[in-house]
């Protein structure tokens, strides 16, 4: 009988063996840790650097964003 797994709502989980298998071996587990670690390092590093070298002109772009909704608020307000 096939091993069917269920989620917390009782719905059967789809078989994902075609998508992936559990990483086998030390090298595979090490790569997974290094890969995900580097990903989060990139996220934190890039976002922090963007904040440090913040482009003051960027703020005006949020002004442009808000301006897009002004006609809408006028219509709704009117």
């Amino acid at each position: 009988m096939p091993d069917v797994q269920f989620d917390s709502f009782g719905e059967p989980l789809r078989d994902d063996r075609g998508l992936a298998t559990r990483p086998q071996g030390q090298a595979s587990r090490w790569m997974l840790r290094v890969g995900t670690g580097l990903f989060w390092l990139l996220v934190v590093g890039i976002l922090s650097a963007r904040v440090l070298y913040f482009d003051p002109d960027f703020a005006s772009k949020f002004g442009q964003f808000a301006a897009l909704f002004r006609p809408l608020s006028t219509i709704l307000g009117g």
Binding site: L19, A20, V34, G35
Partner: protein, 356 residues
């Protein structure tokens, strides 16, 4: 008796109008999600000057959001399946209009050789990394193609050729898109850090950034020279999609046969070796290369291809089980990150040797 059976089958088979009517709800829903996605992309364009996330990515994510909140009933499913498969195949055919041998010739031998060599090296390495991380064969191919060629477009073009399903396409596109945005945000920071000239940065951006609009977003702050070089390198990289798609259609026949059954007929079926949409893709690429297709037609054909791809991505998103993607997310993220960092190291050395 046979004729009775045949006439019975004929009566049971729905007519063209009924079949089209059956497709309508699912196709309409996919188009609706596409229109919302294009609207969000336009909003990004107006606010930031460049779309950081393309409509294609937004469509698949929106489709997944809808699918998580509501499971489409049988009325919707045939149209969703049609949009995900047949519409994508037509889009791949139309992508052939982007392949032009004259562009290759104009780019120069050194740039062409370096770009093709980079793709040729990173494609198998990225595949090997994905397999080592335990990802399936098809998902590994999609991650490798997305990383080495042009992100989402390459994934969308290769997916039907290798018989990838919605979960595989959504997993590879979602996580590749996240990394794609990170590169666009992070790459300009490398200019002072690595003391890159405008031309070197252009080569680096063209070799590492996934989509053409993202190349513009990453290079425009560095100036016109970077933008021009980056775009040319990126276009050459996109052109490698032709031989890659053809290679998978010729040698990946077993991958398309998901259930492992052998064809009923032993006769050589050319459409099983090379799918019809690849023949169309090559035909359009040939017409464009020999200038038999007017150059004015290329842009509208590519726009239609982009629109159809977005519709099919919305449909694919509607069929995706987020829980499955969540379970492979860590491994896809690790595979894309490691492949991308390796690509950046190779691209850095190529940029230093090609440009001053």
């Amino acid at each position: 008796m046979n004729s009775d059976k045949l006439s019975g089958e004929k009566a049971a088979r729905p007519g063209l109008a009924a079949r089209l009517g059956g497709l309508l709800p699912g196709v309409s829903l996919s188009i609706l999600i596409t229109l919302v996605s294009i609207g969000i992309q336009e909003l990004e364009q107006r606010v930031f000057g460049h779309p950081y996330l393309e409509a294609l990515v937004i469509a698949i994510v929106l489709g997944m959001v809808v699918r998580t909140a509501w499971v489409p009933s049988s009325i919707w499913r045939s149209g969703i399946a049609f949009s995900a498969k047949q519409v994508l195949e037509v889009a791949v055919t139309l992508l052939g209009a982007s392949i032009s041998v004259s562009t290759l010739a104009a780019s120069g031998f050194a740039l062409l050789g370096a770009t093709v060599a980079t793709v040729a090296v990173i494609l198998p390495v990225s595949y090997a990394i994905s397999r080592l991380l335990g990802l399936g064969v098809r998902l590994s191919i999609l991650v490798a193609c997305g990383n080495s060629v042009c992100g989402n477009s390459a994934i969308a073009a290769v997916a039907p050729v290798i018989g990838a399903d919605g979960d595989e396409i959504a997993s590879s596109i979602s996580f590749t898109a996240i990394l794609g945005v990170l590169i666009v945000l992070g790459l300009p920071l490398l200019i002072p850090f690595l003391h890159l000239s405008a031309s070197q940065y252009g080569v680096l951006a063209g070799l590492t950034v996934y989509a053409v609009p993202q190349v513009l977003a990453a290079t425009v702050p560095a100036g016109l020279v970077s933008t021009q070089i980056g775009t040319v390198v990126k276009l050459v990289r996109v052109l490698t999609l032709g031989p890659i798609v053809l290679g998978f259609s010729l040698f990946g026949r077993n991958l398309r046969n998901r259930d492992g059954k052998t064809p009923a007929s032993d006769r050589l079926n050319y459409f099983q070796i090379v799918p019809w949409f690849i023949i169309g893709f090559l035909l359009l690429a040939g017409l464009r290369s020999f200038e038999l297709l007017p150059s004015d037609w290329a842009t509208p054909l590519l726009k239609i291809a982009g629109l159809l791809t977005t519709i099919s991505m919305a449909a694919l998103g509607l069929g995706v089980d987020v829980r499955v993607i969540g379970r492979v997310g860590g491994r896809v993220t690790a595979a894309v990150t490691l492949s991308l960092l390796l690509l950046m190291v190779i691209a850095f050395f190529v940029a230093h040797s090609l440009a001053k």
